[in-house]
């Protein structure tokens, strides 16, 4: 249970990392050869990319923790934290680091909905894991 949960969170972390650069890129990505990333810093969505990648890193670490330490408290804490990260991922393009305002910009058309959907998935996986682990082990261990 904990291993499959860890794998799920880990996979979502990897997908999340590549979403704003490869899968549903923010404005200016993928970078043409020889372009400096700094040139894109003027776009509002560049901040979205940075925050998302930070959250993706944390998600990856949580997934790894749930995969390596299968003891109930760690897996439970990992899945609870993943659910929290899911909320942050949803809020990133909407409020924390909003994407560009123009409705035709690639970040608004693609990155924003993709991050919201990934955030919902992370919230669902983390939430389900938290509930199931609590049901299975929580009562016994007093969590």
């Amino acid at each position: 249970m904990s291993r499959s949960l860890g794998l799920g969170i880990l996979a979502l972390g990897i997908i999340l990392y590549f979403t704003p650069t490869r899968l549903f890129p923010v404005c200016g990505f993928p970078l043409p050869p020889g372009t400096e990333v700094g040139l894109l810093a003027g776009h509002a969505c560049y901040k979205t990319l940075r925050v998302t990648q930070g959250l993706a890193g944390l998600t990856f670490i949580l997934g790894l923790a749930a995969l390596l330490w299968t003891r109930p408290p760690i897996a439970w804490i990992s899945s609870l934290a993943a659910a929290g990260l899911g909320v942050l991922v949803i809020l990133t393009p909407l409020a924390i680091a909003p994407v560009c305002k123009m409705p035709t910009m690639p970040c608004r058309l693609g990155t924003l909905p993709a991050l919201v959907i990934l955030g919902i998935l992370l919230l669902a996986v983390g939430g389900a894991g938290t509930l199931l682990l609590w049901k299975r082990h929580g009562r016994a261990t007093g969590l």
């Binding site: 305002k101 123009m102 409705p103 035709t104 058309l109 693609g110 909905p113 993709a114 919201v116 959907i117």
Partner: protein, 406 residues
């Protein structure tokens, strides 16, 4: 002996074969999702197309010869198109019998990466407030608010709100209002009164990073409204033919014709969804039917035991039939949720990538599409489950147990 609850047995059976259950669930979900998404995308495209052409308000659009495609793209996607015709062509068009009224528009585009423009590469349309059909509905809705030369109207998808200022070629305009959504390029267009556009062009040499050169004697398109056919007016195709043969330097776009052509010209994704929707349903029926027929065959011993323990034929029928139906129901719900989620998030991206105008269909149409997709999923289960359920219910206990051991 009391019969065990059907749903407990079904749940246990599905859990016992997770891979098979998931594959069948996905098969039904894909069929339902393809039918739903295909219909919603198609309905949204037609709604946007209808709204865009209604917004144009013209029976014919006259443009320079050979530029009808560029104009159609500008109307449908908002991709700026700039070209001109001598204004004198309007008088020639007006002289053709059956023409009720005309209006001219001049197409411009804002400068890209220039501090003198609020946004780059925007489609700007200079219009004549007295005669224009496109923004007429807004003007009619606001009779107490005549549009000043430095006031502009914006398409529904533009970010600025009424009262905000916008700069084009160094000239500052005030946004007077926003037009209703059409889902097309018109939503990304700024409509500037002709007088204001000419003033902007005159000042651009001093104020802008590049001068805008337009002449008061130039227009880009002439919108034509015909006399109604009931009052002796010509059909649109005949008037278009008449204009093109009398004025060789122009091409004529017939909005009705554009509607029919765009409707017929299905883009790749819509064709694919139609194909998947059309073939996935029979495939799902076949897959479910075959899988459950095999499953009944494999479980003859269990069925025999159930019958020997007092399970009636109806109970066995219900058991098999409800299992297929439960999978189909769950698959339908999953497919609709997936397709709905993807459309909710990515509908605009899909429309932009397909270069088609798009608006969410009305709620009844949306409900009908969801209902149709769900009914197809459930009927796939019903059809597929019928034969295996019948064959399972007809087994005699002793025979079933004997065959099951072979």
């Amino acid at each position: 002996m009391a019969a065990p609850p059907v749903f407990d047995l079904i749940a246990a059976h599905l859990r016992h074969r997770p891979v098979q259950s998931v594959i069948l669930l996905l098969a039904v979900a894909i069929a339902a999702a393809a039918v739903f998404a295909g219909r919603v995308l198609e309905q949204g495209r037609l709604k946007a197309l209808e709204q865009s052409l209604a917004r144009l308000g013209a029976d014919l659009v006259v443009v320079p010869r050979g530029l009808s495609q560029a104009t159609e793209q500008a109307i449908l996607t908002g991709q700026p198109a700039t070209f001109t015709l001598p204004r004198s062509v309007e008088a020639k068009v007006q002289s053709i019998p059956g023409i009720e009224r005309t209006a001219t528009q001049l197409f411009l585009k804002s400068l890209t990466n220039a501090a003198c423009c609020s946004a780059g590469n925007l489609f700007l349309v200079a219009f004549n407030p007295e005669s224009d059909f496109t923004v007429r509905p807004w003007l009619e809705d606001h009779p107490d608010r005549p549009l000043g030369p430095d006031e502009v109207l914006a398409g529904a998808a533009m970010i600025p709100e009424p009262g905000d200022t916008l700069r084009f070629y160094g000239h500052t305009f005030t946004l007077a209002g926003k037009l209703a959504a059409t889902g097309s390029g018109l939503d990304l267009t700024i409509f500037i009164p002709r007088e204001g556009a000419l003033r902007m062009a005159r000042e651009s040499a001093q104020k802008a990073e590049a001068e805008l050169k337009i002449s008061p004697e130039e227009v880009s398109a002439i919108l034509v409204r015909l006399q109604p056919e009931a009052e002796g007016g010509p059909p649109a195709w005949k008037a278009a033919y008449e204009i093109e043969s009398r004025i060789p330097e122009v091409s004529v776009i017939q909005p009705d014709d554009l509607f029919v052509r765009t409707r017929q010209n299905l883009s790749g994704l819509l064709t694919l969804l139609r194909g998947v929707g059309g073939s996935a349903w029979p495939a799902a029926v076949l897959l479910l039917g075959l899988t459950f027929a095999l499953s009944v065959n494999e479980q003859k011993r269990e069925i025999g035991i159930l019958r020997a323990l007092g399970g009636r034929r109806e109970f066995i029928f219900r058991l098999v039939f409800c299992e297929v139906l439960a999978l189909a129901l769950a698959g339908g719900i999953l497919g609709l949720s997936l397709a709905g989620g993807i459309l909710l998030g990515f509908s605009r991206l899909i429309a932009v990538r397909l270069h088609v105008p798009w608006l969410w269909p009305d709620l009844p149409a949306l409900g009908l599409s969801a209902g149709l997709a769900f009914s197809l999923a459930v009927s796939a289960g019903g059809l597929a489950g019928l034969l295996p359920a019948l064959s399972a219910s007809r087994l005699e206990p002793a025979e079933a147990m004997r065959r099951g051991e072979l």
